[in-house]
């Protein structure tokens, strides 16, 4: 029998509408799954048991009166712990914000709650979203449900592990250089980074403001479409949110891809690419070709410069954004308080972990007098080249298909001593953030040793419908997204 926690949101919505399942039952099922699974996975930073059950009861009550706020009202949702939720701790997995309780809701949280989704918890992440393995959490790493010795990816590794291990129905993550898509690939779940500006960032703790974007992490493409529908739209609280019409994303999922022009960029298939990843992505392209899609070979020669450009821009923005953690208005204050400078120094030295310090210093350096032009300004200009290269590509194709990561999930500890090596795991995801483009990662199969492989679809600006439909067509033809990790949890 299918347990309620195993359902997708659209399956649960059908049962809820027919009153064959209550939100209370669904939420309790998820909470019980969390209780049993967390000792093994550690996907969550905070579990919101009481407020979730109260919200579920309220939804059941409103549905009984025919007044459910939406079709998906009563479905559980896990939030990455960098999204503010009023009255619930929002730590960013940092000692700096260990005791921070936001006095307001992020816009995405407000929208999800208005639609009746039930926040069941806040998920673990790399501190301040800086990392690709969730090992940079100040509160312990998250295990990959497919192999507990391996990382779930990052920085939204808690959210992807929670979805993979059925510890939630829906989840939200954030993506600055791949933080939704790389862990989605590592955990064999569906992850979407929307176009920059599609979703409000109000209430998302800022890492690199020109790159950050919130997006869905789900069990399939259909759920990603419906969650994107809920969170999209312009917001007066975020002047970088874009005032563009929000299409009916679920309605875009026709599965019809005849004539779809799929670009395959050769730079995303370098000589050193893991052979099983290459095989899986090529097979995925072939499958869609057999359905009538047209395959176009592309070249995106700037790809090799993506990581260098990305890490200059994101660290510069981070050093500026994180200047606010100084121990005055909120968050931790350091022990040394003899004068204001000592207080700042002790606050930041005690509150930030090693990767955050590294990025703040790198960002401070590249913005400092004498180096600004050579590093930051140059990176901004190269960023323009990335945009132009993609603009040219999308004159020839509708979507681009490529790997999500250069390798399958790596072992915990494998890259922690070599930051540059860790950074390179974002090579296929970071270019999109620089160009503002949407990217969808779906499960694309498994290596011979059973490790997840992701397939990435890239779309033009506001091309979410195209990549969602392509991903949906792929999921109609495959069952990778229905595979569950061989997880043994205490009963």
């Amino acid at each position: 029998m299918v347990e309620p926690y195993q359902l997708t949101a659209w399956e649960a919505a059908d049962l809820l509408a027919r009153k064959e399942l209550s939100s209370r039952e669904l939420t309790e099922s998820v909470l019980q799954r969390i209780e049993r699974t967390e000792p093994v996975i550690h996907a969550y930073q905070t579990v919101l048991r009481d407020s979730a059950l109260a919200a579920a009861d309220a939804i059941d009550e409103s549905r009984a009166h025919g007044e459910a706020p939406s079709r998906y009202a009563g479905v559980p949702l896990a939030l990455k712990d960098n999204m503010c939720m009023q009255g619930s701790p929002t730590t960013c997995s940092s000692r700096m914000l260990e005791s921070f309780v936001p006095p307001y809701d992020a816009t995405v949280v407000q929208k999800c709650m208005a639609a009746g989704l039930i926040p069941v918890g806040k998920t673990n992440m790399d501190e301040f979203a800086m990392g690709s393995s969730t090992e940079n959490s100040a509160f312990g790493r998250t295990m990959n449900p497919w192999d507990l010795d391996r990382v779930p990816g990052g920085s939204s590794g808690g959210s992807t592990a929670a979805v993979s291990a059925d510890e939630t129905i829906l989840s939200l993550g954030s993506d600055t250089g791949g933080s939704i898509r790389q862990p989605a690939a590592f955990c064999s779940v569906t992850g979407l980074k929307p176009t920059y500006g599609r979703v409000s960032r109000y209430g998302l703790v800022a890492f690199a403001s020109s790159l950050d974007q919130i997006g869905p992490i789900t069990k399939d493409v259909r759920d990603a479409a419906l969650l994107l529908q809920i969170i999209s739209g312009v917001d007066s609280m975020d002047s970088t949110s874009v005032n563009a019409p929000v299409p009916d994303y679920p309605a875009a999922l026709t599965g019809e891809i005849k004539g779809l022009r799929i670009g395959v960029p050769k730079e995303y298939f370098p000589a050193g690419l893991n052979a099983e990843i290459r095989g899986s992505v090529e097979k995925a392209v072939q499958l869609l070709k057999e359905q009538g899609a047209e395959v176009v070979e592309l070249s995106l020669p700037k790809t090799d410069y993506a990581i260098a450009t990305y890490y200059l821009i994101c660290t510069a923005e981070a050093s500026s954004n994180l200047a606010r953690y100084e121990g005055v208005v909120y968050g931790r204050r350091g022990a040394s308080q003899d004068n204001i400078l000592e207080m700042y120094m002790s606050t930041r030295s005690e509150g930030f972990g090693p990767e955050v310090k590294r990025r703040i210093m790198l960002g401070t350096y590249v913005l400092s007098a004498g180096f600004f032009e050579a590093y930051y300004r140059r990176a901004q200009k190269v960023r323009t080249l990335f945009r132009q290269e993609f603009e040219q590509a999308f004159k020839q194709v509708d979507v681009i298909m490529c790997p999500a990561t250069p390798s399958p999930p790596f072992k915990a500890g494998e890259k922690t001593d070599d930051p540059l090596e860790m950074y390179l795991s974002d090579v296929f995801t970071a270019p999109l953030n620089m160009a503002g483009l949407p990217g969808l990662v779906v499960p694309g199969g498994f290596s011979a040793s059973g490790l997840p492989i992701g397939v990435q679809f890239i779309g033009p600006v506001f091309g979410e419908e195209k990549i969602l439909n392509a991903g949906y067509a792929y999921q109609q033809l495959t069952d990778h997204h229905r595979q569950k990790p061989p997880l043994v949890v205490p009963s």
């Binding site: 004068n339 204001i340 210093m361 080249l385 620089m434």
Partner: protein
């Protein structure tokens, strides 16, 4: 391009971070390696290229200057590490 230990210590001070000697050594090496890696951007011709600060074109957003609800003082002070009365309390700023 690498970075010297003294340069790193200066950057740490600008970043308001205090480093132990071991940390300073480690970060000098890591940041030096990253700076060497990003040198590859010099291979690209950026002559005449406009910088991008935001990927998606945007316009300035204007609104009428109307008073709306804001945080109550007590709410705003709730997360303060130290407070006194209606104020955030900090160590002495000027001598």
């Amino acid at each position: 391009m690498s970075i010297s230990r003294d340069e790193l210590k200066h950057i740490a001070l600008l970043s308001r971070l205090e480093l132990s000697d071991d940390e300073a050594e480690l970060y000098t090496r890591h940041i030096g390696e990253i700076l060497e890696y990003v040198e590859k951007l010099k291979e690209l011709d950026i002559e005449g290229v406009e910088p991008t600060s935001h990927a998606v074109p945007m316009e300035n957003v204007m609104r009428d200057d109307v008073v709306g609800p804001g945080l109550e003082i007590d709410e705003a002070l709730k997360n303060a590490p130290d407070r006194e009365d209606r104020f955030f309390r900090v160590p002495r700023v000027t001598e």
